[in-house]
């Protein structure tokens, strides 16, 4: 196996066959990344890009704490979203994969619909529901809750709600696929070996879902880091996240080098966290060969 891999680098035919993929990767992935990075060493003056090749942008990035406050806030929100999504999605996905097997097709169609329904639409739907004059407040006030309780809209919690709501299907789907692929006999084998339901879950189901948990977490984390709609619409825009900061920098300030630098920082930190997470979860353990 290892030998075969070593050989392939010297196999002209294989190299030739890999060329389209390499070209595609280079043009669509590596080149934009390199260009983004190069952009960070320029400046804009009078809304025009100047090729200055200096570190002014990076000096700005590292000297202004608020870029980092926003980045920190973004990461915390994304991580919270990952945690909540996993906790919510696991029982749902587990139920779908085991208890409601007969409804499998209907459920898959519903989840797919959740994917394709426009997130903007759903998010604004929540505004109507959570609004001071919305259904939720009417209900809560009617039940005698104090006014502080009902001003939920335009807080970080509302942002988080929107993020979880929009990203939950991704978690359900990835977890569903990974739970569904577990041989039921493994669970029986665990019972047979003397495991309680809870123990079988902990020792067998959960570890075997690791690839699904990892994939779902990474997906939600990266999507969560990139949200701009939820903080703006549900969060009231008073507590912006990185995507909004980058959009503002690119569009409103027309400061492309700064936007590129902020994008780069966000990307590097996110990738670092994903790698860290993969290490923590032990995704490299040979049981999965991930």
């Amino acid at each position: 196996m290892e030998q075969g891999v070593g050989k392939s680098w010297r196999d002209p035919e294989l190299l030739w066959k890999a060329l389209p993929s390499v070209l595609l990767q280079t043009t669509c992935f590596v080149a934009p990344l390199v260009m983004t990075f190069l952009l960070t060493f320029q400046r804009t003056r009078d809304f025009q890009l100047r090729w200055t090749w200096d570190l002014a942008t990076w000096t700005d990035v590292f000297s202004k704490p608020h870029y980092w406050t926003i980045l920190g806030h973004t990461l915390v929100m994304a991580l919270a979203c990952v945690a909540i999504c996993l906790v919510l999605a696991f029982p749902i996905a587990y139920g779908l994969a085991t208890r409601f097997k007969t409804l499998e097709n209907e459920i898959k169609i519903l989840v797919t619909f959740a994917f394709i329904t426009d997130a903007t639409l759903k998010t604004f739907g929540w505004v109507l529901f959570l609004d001071k004059k919305g259904a939720a407040n009417y209900l809560l006030t009617g039940l005698g809750f104090p006014p502080e309780m009902v001003s939920f809209l335009f807080t970080d919690w509302a942002t988080l709600l929107g993020m979880v709501y929009n990203l939950l299907p991704f978690a359900i789907f990835t977890l569903y696929l990974s739970i569904d692929s577990i041989d039921r006999n493994l669970i029986f084998a665990a019972y047979d070996a003397g495991a309680s339901k809870w123990r079988a879950h902990w020792e067998v189901t959960l570890p075997l879902c690791k690839p699904g948990i990892f994939a779902g977490s990474v997906l939600i984390f990266l999507l969560g880091v990139g949200v701009f709609l939820e903080p703006k619409v549900l969060g009231g825009g008073t507590s912006p996240m990185s995507a909004e900061l980058i959009r503002q920098t690119f569009e409103t300030r027309v400061n492309w080098p700064l936007g590129a630098a902020l994008t780069f920082v966000l990307m590097v930190v996110s990738v670092f966290l994903v790698l860290l997470f993969s290490r923590v979860l032990g995704m490299r353990r040979s049981g999965f060969g991930a």
Binding site: N185, F188, A189, D192, A193, P207
Partner: protein, 388 residues
């Protein structure tokens, strides 16, 4: 009529492989009138079975007969609709699988892919909160018992060969010293050669540990080789329960006769039973005497019945040779199969016969030849007629 079964049984002297054990003690497994319904589908329709301590019992039958369902009830993976299961004198109603003194070897082994071999084998002890050191010692013990090399301990199951995985699965099931080892067709996916090796391995294991084995299989030859008793099931019922020779030579009905191996069933009409003799008439072969000792006739056989004549009991005879029953036939096919030769022949009465002759016969037959065939009333068996 030829009924083709899954396998041809080995000769009678091979059967008593399992040593006879104490028959008088209380049964280790006692199943009473178990019913299991899946919605409107009845998988088990009143099954009762008693298994003695240390016995090796095989549940056989075609797929859908309920053998695996019965095994699941014993293991506790499913609750029976009605009936009781007792293990070692204790009613298992409401006892979850985790607390039953049983252990299952699954069809696809169900080794945990995320655990090493050592973790897999030691898993039942880990759940029982056995100390680390003792687990390691027990795992090593199991390794020796299963003839596995210690270098496998840190590997993951998928890095092992099929046979090695099989041994690991057995080791995991045996480590907790279960009273009942349940085997759900664990050898079915293996190639013939490996299967033979593991069959004798199972046999050896059974002899050395003295645990009661309940082995589900659709492979008759395997059941014949391994089991002390065979339980033939069909459509949720037990058709026959008995020692392999019993089942082979005295099948309860035409289904068992056919399932257990290729055979010839001649229609006969029983006219009377008296003084240990049974009188009958047969249109499909010639029998000058027209009677049989009662020991060769099933209790239930009345009126229209079937005479079960295994292919190896039929031989070629000369026109003047004296045999109890005879028939003339034209040979239609010849197969040479190892040390035996199998023939197909079409009788003058219009029946297709299977004939098996050991070694080189004095009188070889050729396709198209008109021959006399005959058998004696010694190992034949008359069973109730009609389609079961």
């Amino acid at each position: 009529m030829i009924i083709r079964g899954g396998a041809i049984g080995p000769p009678p002297f091979c059967f008593n492989g399992g040593s006879k054990r104490d028959m008088t003690s209380a049964p280790i497994l006692d199943i009473r009138d178990i019913h299991k319904d899946y919605g409107s589908y009845q998988a088990l329709k009143g099954v009762s079975l008693s298994v003695r301590q240390g016995e090796f019992i095989a549940l056989v039958g075609p797929s859908g007969c309920g053998k695996t369902t019965l095994l699941k009830q014993i293991a506790g993976f499913e609750d029976a609709t009605s009936g009781t299961i007792s293990i070692d004198g204790r009613d298992m109603a409401g006892v979850p699988a985790a607390h039953r003194p049983t252990s299952m070897v699954f069809q696809k082994l169900a080794l945990f892919p995320h655990m090493t071999v050592a973790e897999n084998i030691g898993f039942p002890l880990k759940l029982r909160k056995v100390a680390q050191g003792e687990i390691a010692a027990r795992v090593n013990e199991m390794l020796t018992l299963m003839q596995l090399k210690p270098i496998y301990l840190d590997r993951f199951p998928r890095a092992l060969s099929g046979g090695e995985q099989q041994r690991v699965a057995l080791a995991r099931s045996m480590i907790s010293s279960p009273k009942l080892l349940l085997l759900d067709e664990p050898l079915s996916a293996l190639d013939v050669k490996l299967k033979k090796v593991l069959q004798s391995e199972l046999k050896r294991l059974h002899r050395s540990v003295g645990v009661t084995f309940v082995h589900v299989t659709h492979d008759l030859e395997e059941a014949m080789m391994l089991a002390d008793r065979i339980c033939v099931m069909r459509a949720g019922h037990i058709l026959q329960l008995g020692e392999p020779a019993d089942i082979y030579y005295r099948p309860a009905d035409a289904f068992v006769a056919g399932f257990i191996g290729e055979t010839n069933l001649f229609p006969v009409e029983i006219t009377s039973r008296a003084k240990g003799r049974v009188r009958y008439s047969a249109g499909s072969f010639d029998d000058a005497s027209g009677e049989l000792p009662e020991a060769l006739v099933a209790e239930a056989a009345q009126g229209a019945a079937l005479m079960n004549v295994r292919p190896e009991l039929i031989r070629r005879i000369g026109p003047e040779d004296k045999v109890d029953c005879r028939v003339t036939a034209r040979v239609t096919e010849v197969f040479t199969k190892g040390g035996t030769v199998q023939y197909r022949a079409h009788t003058s009465q219009g029946m297709d016969l299977a004939v098996e002759i050991q070694g080189t016969s004095r009188l070889p037959m050729e396709v198209g030849e008109e021959v006399h065939l005959g058998w004696n009333k010694k190992d034949i068996w008359v069973l109730p007629g009609g389609e079961p």
